[in-house]
Symmetry: C2
Subunit: 157 residues, 2 copies
């Protein structure tokens, strides 16, 4: 397990920023498809993808949404955060082999129910913006350090 | 493989509606965590979840986002759709064992770039709204029938 300290509502400041990085490969795309049932062949079938404007398989846009969720849940504000809402605009395709960096920035705080808005940007390894939007969360009330569970061990057959 | 016919831009009408259903269990939650790296213990660690207001593990909100993506990609408009943007509000927790029905309704069409807006609602098996929002897509230009790939075979270790 990996211990992770959160940033409770009282310690969050407008302008505060943090990032989360993850590489996306055919494995992550297959796992996302198996989790959600999104069997869009543009993500899973190289032959079909070759017939599209993308030319090759691309990741599900909502997989990048999952990276934004991971960033909020594990980094800023971190454990204890309750996810209230998200908007996202998909700007460029994410391809297997890309490394995506999600950067979160606190843009607004309201004491009622510890409501926080964060700007969210996802860039690839070339610095290109692949998706962006805004998250709304309820920040944790208390400072805490939580052991993150290990990544579930799965094998693709 | 399962053959799926899309609904191209010219055949889409405001008010047109379709739905996609999927059951969410601990398996889907673990696969989503393994795909995205979102290791939030409220989803994966029953002991931690028992200490939260939810009392038991809940699904990642963005997993419901993945079901919306699946609905757009496989049902309405279906294969050939390009996902441009999404907003989502998470209303109620989704728990292992819940069956979620995503209902999409076309609310707006604009000929330029075959732009379509759809209302998205996700209900659980008790008819309660767990998430809702709006999607923006580029609808397919041409009618086509596509073989959806099989769901990737994965095993949890």
């Amino acid at each position: 397990m990996s211990a992770r300290e959160n940033i409770p509502y009282d310690e969050l400041e407008t302008g505060q920023s943090a990032s989360f990085q993850r590489s996306i490969g055919t494995r992550e795309i297959a796992l996302f498809a198996a989790a959600t049932g999104d069997l869009n062949p543009v993500h899973l079938d190289p032959g079909f993808a070759a017939s599209t404007p993308f030319g090759e398989p691309i990741a599900h846009g909502m997989l990048t949404g999952g990276l934004v969720s991971a960033a909020l849940a594990t980094v800023l504000p971190g454990p204890g955060t309750i996810y209230l809402g998200q908007n996202l605009r998909f700007r460029l395709p994410v391809k297997p082999g890309d490394t995506i960096t999600v950067t979160l920035t606190v843009t607004e705080k309201r004491d009622r129910r510890r409501w926080v808005r964060l700007n969210c940007e996802a860039h690839n390894q070339d610095g290109k913006l692949v998706a962006n939007g805004e998250a709304e969360v309820q920040a944790p009330a208390e400072k805490m350090t939580v052991d993150l569970p290990p990544e579930p061990a799965v094998s693709l057959c």
